[in-house]
């Protein structure tokens, strides 16, 4: 496998604020990577760095190119949806297709057209006449028709209703994703898309808190719901986070085997959402 993105020591300051602090991670081809973090954690800054939209210090290679100096070449292989509704409001749907067809060597107009046929979007409509969900569908249609190697999505479904959100991710998964393509996604709605991810990167205060393949999480992290009388002994094994819901305690462990913990109670692999909360709020996280 070749790395699609290789970042080493990415650092970026906005004035006195450190948006990225020595961030190092790698993304392999054919993965769907969730970049997850609270507001202001540095997610968008990291994506901007990858897309060559901001300056930074450190080493970064995207598809073997440096986004700072080789941005134009990079954009032939990379697609991104920066945010909902950034399509120019004056543009007609047909003009959007004409424009992308005129500038992008890897755009297949027929693909975009057939996707739009399945929606309520009419070719003559202007973007400003479309609902937020429809604008996202239009942007998705453009992106699906571009044969790119890396797709970067920054909160693409923010503010959309559940149906649009579901459709959006189903389409990405069914009509777009394949073994050669890589998707990097940030979202707040972790629960909704956590089944999508093959890898997760947690980022907090500009630092990588966790970077792992989802399939490896089970061997690294355990969520224990101890029976009451074993709670103290389980706690002695130093869970990095503990929370109480409806009187039942859930403890999160890193690097403990199932054999060590199994005797204390019910054991399972934490969901990405739970693990995220545990990592962000827990103590002793690396």
């Amino acid at each position: 496998m070749t790395a699609v993105i290789e970042a080493r020591g990415l650092t970026k300051n906005y004035g006195a604020t450190r948006a990225l602090d020595d961030v190092t991670f790698a993304v392999d081809a054919g993965r769907i990577v969730g970049l997850i973090g609270p507001n202001g954690a540095g997610k968008t800054t990291a994506l901007k760095a990858i897309l060559g939209l901001t300056s930074f210090s450190g080493e970064l290679q995207v598809l073997g190119l440096d986004p700072r100096t080789q941005r134009d070449a990079l954009m032939r292989e990379v697609c991104f949806i920066a945010d909902v509704a950034v399509l120019p409001r004056w543009m007609r749907v047909s003009q959007a297709l004409d424009f992308v067809a005129g500038v992008h060597p890897r755009f297949d107009r027929a693909v975009a057209g057939s996707f739009l046929k399945k929606t309520d979007i009419r070719m003559a409509s202007r973007v400003r006449e479309l609902s937020k969900g429809m604008v996202t569908q239009l942007h998705l249609a453009l992106v699906l028709a571009i044969d790119a190697r890396l797709l970067v999505l920054d909160e693409p479904t923010l503010g959309l209703d559940l149906l649009y959100r579901r459709n959006f991710y189903d389409t990405i998964l069914n009509d777009y994703f394949d073994k050669e393509r890589t998707i990097l996604l940030t979202t707040h709605q972790v629960e909704e898309v956590e089944n999508l991810f093959t890898d997760v990167i947690f980022i907090n205060h500009g630092r990588v808190a966790l970077s792992a393949a989802v399939e490896d999480l089970g061997s690294r992290y355990q969520q224990l719901t101890p029976v009451a009388e074993q709670a103290a002994r389980a706690r002695a094994l130093q869970p990095f986070y503990e929370r109480e819901v409806f009187g039942r305690v859930a403890m999160f462990f890193e690097g403990r085997s199932a054999a060590e913990l199994g005797a204390f109670g019910e054991l399972r692999t934490p969901s990405i959402a739970d693990l995220f909360v545990a990592k962000m709020q827990g103590t002793g996280s690396p």
Partner: protein, 316 residues
């Protein structure tokens, strides 16, 4: 990885036959079309003015006092009047083009940041250099020479309308068609358009730079230095060099063309068809004027700065 799975996986739609990049000419053409889609005033405004002038030509009342007017019974006077109408009718079109073109330059790089659509434009494989140059191309080539062509067509329409009215007897027969004079006047207007574009290019570059630079109120920021600068200079030193410089950069085009003090209509009547301005206009002098070329060098620097700002600014 199971190799059979990889082997039987559907063919990737990615084909190596796909071109690595679009031809720059095709991309540039698309970019120019996109500007005309977004800024419809660029072509709508001159069209509306031309249509209004055609309306005036069709129904306007013309009163010519044959006693006061130069001797319009002579052929040469009629040709002169014809040339002058050709010239004068183009002026409103050029004025509106300068107005909407300036506003366009000031708005084009600012609006895309304001509505954040720059994030969409930047998601496509189009360099910042080509994007900014496409906007300059629209303002300095598509607009002026589009207006030149429109003025040419519009004049033919006015001539046809006026000719019809003369033959219907609702206008006195004061116009005369002369193909040679017509061609000479068009040639003059073409060359003046070309030199005006080259002379005013630094202003276009400046407007682009302001558009790329400011966070808000581009109109204010673009005019402020030219108001405050001369005022401060006058208050501080009692001199007016800056005002003189600004005046030179706006009106100097007529100086370098050698027509700074030439009146089209002389007191002695209309015996100078505009076409004869070819003999007065000094295009060779204009072409060798160092200030023209210095201006173009400054334009290049301003446009380069606008490109760099669009490439590296990060506040959307």
């Amino acid at each position: 990885m199971n190799t059979t799975l990889a082997d039987t996986a559907p063919d990737s739609p990615r084909s190596d036959a796909a071109p690595a990049a679009k031809r720059p000419g095709e991309v540039l053409l698309t970019l120019v079309r996109r500007e005309l889609w977004e800024h419809r005033a660029l072509w709508l405004a001159p069209l509306v003015v031309a249509a209004l002038l055609a309306l005036v030509a069709a129904i306007g009342r013309v009163h010519i006092d044959m006693d006061e007017a130069p001797d319009l019974t002579s052929e040469s006077q009629r040709v002169a009047l014809f040339s002058i109408i050709q010239f004068v009718l183009a002026i409103p079109l050029y004025l509106v083009a300068v107005f909407v073109g300036s506003y366009y330059l000031l708005d084009c790089l600012y609006a895309e940041r304001k509505d954040r659509s720059i994030l969409f434009w930047k998601s496509l494989p189009v360099s910042d250099g080509l994007t900014v140059c496409s906007k300059l191309l629209v303002a300095l080539a598509v607009m002026p020479f589009g207006v030149f062509a429109l003025a040419l067509l519009a004049h033919l329409v006015y001539t046809a309308i006026l000719g019809a009215r003369v033959s219907l007897g609702s206008l006195p027969p004061v116009l005369s068609w002369n193909s040679y004079e017509w061609l000479r006047t068009e040639a003059v207007m073409f060359l003046v358009t070309l030199f005006a574009v080259l002379w005013w290019a630094p202003i276009a570059g400046y407007l682009l730079l302001v558009s790329a630079w400011v966070r808000r109120a581009p109109i204010l920021w673009s005019t402020l230095p030219f108001v405050l600068g001369p005022v401060l200079e006058w208050v501080a030193f009692g001199t007016r060099y800056l005002l003189g410089f600004i005046d030179y950069r706006v009106n100097g085009i007529w100086e370098i063309l050698g027509v700074g003090h030439v009146n089209i209509v002389s007191k002695h009547g209309l015996h100078h068809p505009v076409g004869s301005a070819l003999e007065v206009l000094d295009f060779r002098h204009a072409l060798t004027a160092i200030d023209l070329w210095l201006g173009l060098a400054v334009t290049a620097a301003l446009v380069y700065a606008a490109i760099r700002i669009r490439r590296y600014r990060d506040d959307t």
